[in-house]
Each structure stands twice: as structure tokens, then as C-alpha cells.
Amino acid sequence: MTQQPPSLLEELPGDLLMWVLIISELLIFGAGLIAFLAMRMADPAGFAEAQAHLDRTGAALNTVVLISSGYLAAQALHWRKAARRRAARYALAAAAALGVLFLVIKGMEYADKAALGINWETHSFFMFYYMLTGFHAAHVVAGILLLLLVAWRDSVENIELGAAFWHMVDLVWVLLFPVIYLLV
């Protein structure tokens, strides 16, 4: 008897609903980034001047933090599948800790802006900056809680779900960081 090849949906790793969520979030952030660059077209010099107030080094460091955190979450899934439960739990806890570090660096960045008297009304650049990075930071908070939850309830399916959400947060940052911080 020949074995049927997996259907397209069966080929997708993890939970289908998580992928629906990932695609929805990517569309929301994608629309935000398109709106940001569309607004920039009307005032490129003003956007460049506003962007000069951002801390690129801190944001670049945060990229390394999130990428490393995502690596640990992905590694946790591999370890759990190999029945290395303790290693998987430690990896998830470490991934969550790096998420907290991301928020600390982000908080310092916001505090720095506040000290300079910069808020979301200062310029339309900052309205998008606070909206997009703030919405992303909210996802980081949710992701940290989810990582800790799946470290506790550590079935393979749960870890796969938690890690997928965390990778979505990672993926959004990889696209958001260059547009907001680097494109002069």
C-alpha cells in the first residue's frame, strides 16, 4: 500500500490557528510600516531629523537579544522532542529572561525620549514610533508570559505553540527595526 503524501495544511509545522495569528499580526505590523513610509514621503527631512534622536545602538543590541532569545525557544522545542525536559525548560526560562532584557532596554529608550521632552505628539514620526514599538513591546510581554506558561505545562504541542508566537515577535522586530531606526 502506498502512503499518501501530506496535504498542504498537514505540511505546516505546529498549530494552524497559531499560523493564522502569525499571519494576522504580520499583516497588522506590515500595514503600520507601509503607513509609516507613506507618511515619510510627505516630510522625509523631518522624519530623518526625528530619527536622529533614536538610540540605534540600543535597538541593534535588542535585535541581538531577540534573535538569541528566539534561538533558545527553538532549541527548547528540539530538546523537548528529544525528551530532554529539564534542558527545554531552562532554555524557555532563558528565552523569557532575554525578553525581559529587551523590555528593560526598550524602557531605557522610552525614558531617554521622555527626558528630552519627546512624546507621540512631537512629530508624526514619533507617533508611529511609539505606536509600532509600543504595540510590539506589548507582544513581547505576552510572549514572555506564554514562554513561562509553556515551560510549566511543557508538552511538545504547548512548547511548539509558545515558541511559534515568540518567533512571530522576533520576525516583526526584524522588519520593524530597520524601517524605524535605520532607513534615513
Partner: protein
């Protein structure tokens, strides 16, 4: 001989691409055209996003889905590039 897993290799490449992005952005200070540095930064981000989808999210085991995501991401990044370059072309 020390061997690294595909996941570890992906992490190392992602760190390397992130450093390249930061360096490309800094080239503006040396007088390099922002249209070139901007295009480079967006291209590097596209590579990073593709790598995260493939290795972190496991789409390397689902080639049809990976192709679909990659194609959509490529068009999205091209759209961002167009919006970024538009003011300097007008």
C-alpha cells in the same frame, strides 16, 4: 571536528546579518548614498526574515509554505523599498 546544527548556524548567520545591517546604516556617515544603504538594509532584513521563517518557525520542512511566505515577504520588502526611495526620485 566540531559540527553545528542548522538551528545554531541560523542563529550565527542572523547575528552576522544584524551586524552587517548596523554597519550598512553607519555607512551614511561616510557619505555613501542613503538610497544604497537603505536598499542594503532592507535586503538584509529580508534575508533575516526568511531565515527566521525557515529555521526558527520550521518552514524548511514545508517547502510550499516557505515559497509562499518568501514570495509575499519579498513583495512586501520591495513595496517598502519603493516607498522609501520615492521621495528621492521625485
Amino acid at each position: 571536528m566540531v559540527t553545528t546544527s542548522p538551528l545554531s548556524r541560523a542563529w550565527i548567520i542572523l547575528i552576522f546579518l544584524s551586524l552587517l545591517s548596523a554597519l550598512a546604516a553607519e555607512l551614511v556617515e561616510t557619505g555613501v548614498d542613503t538610497r544604497i544603504t537603505g536598499s542594503l538594509v532592507l535586503a538584509l532584513s529580508l534575508f533575516k526574515a526568511r531565515l527566521i521563517l525557515s529555521r526558527y518557525l520550521g518552514l524548511c520542512d514545508a517547502p510550499a509554505w516557505r515559497r509562499g511566505f518568501n514570495l509575499t515577504l519579498t513583495f512586501f520588502c520591495l513595496g517598502l523599498l519603493g516607498l522609501y526611495l520615492a521621495p528621492s526620485l521625485s
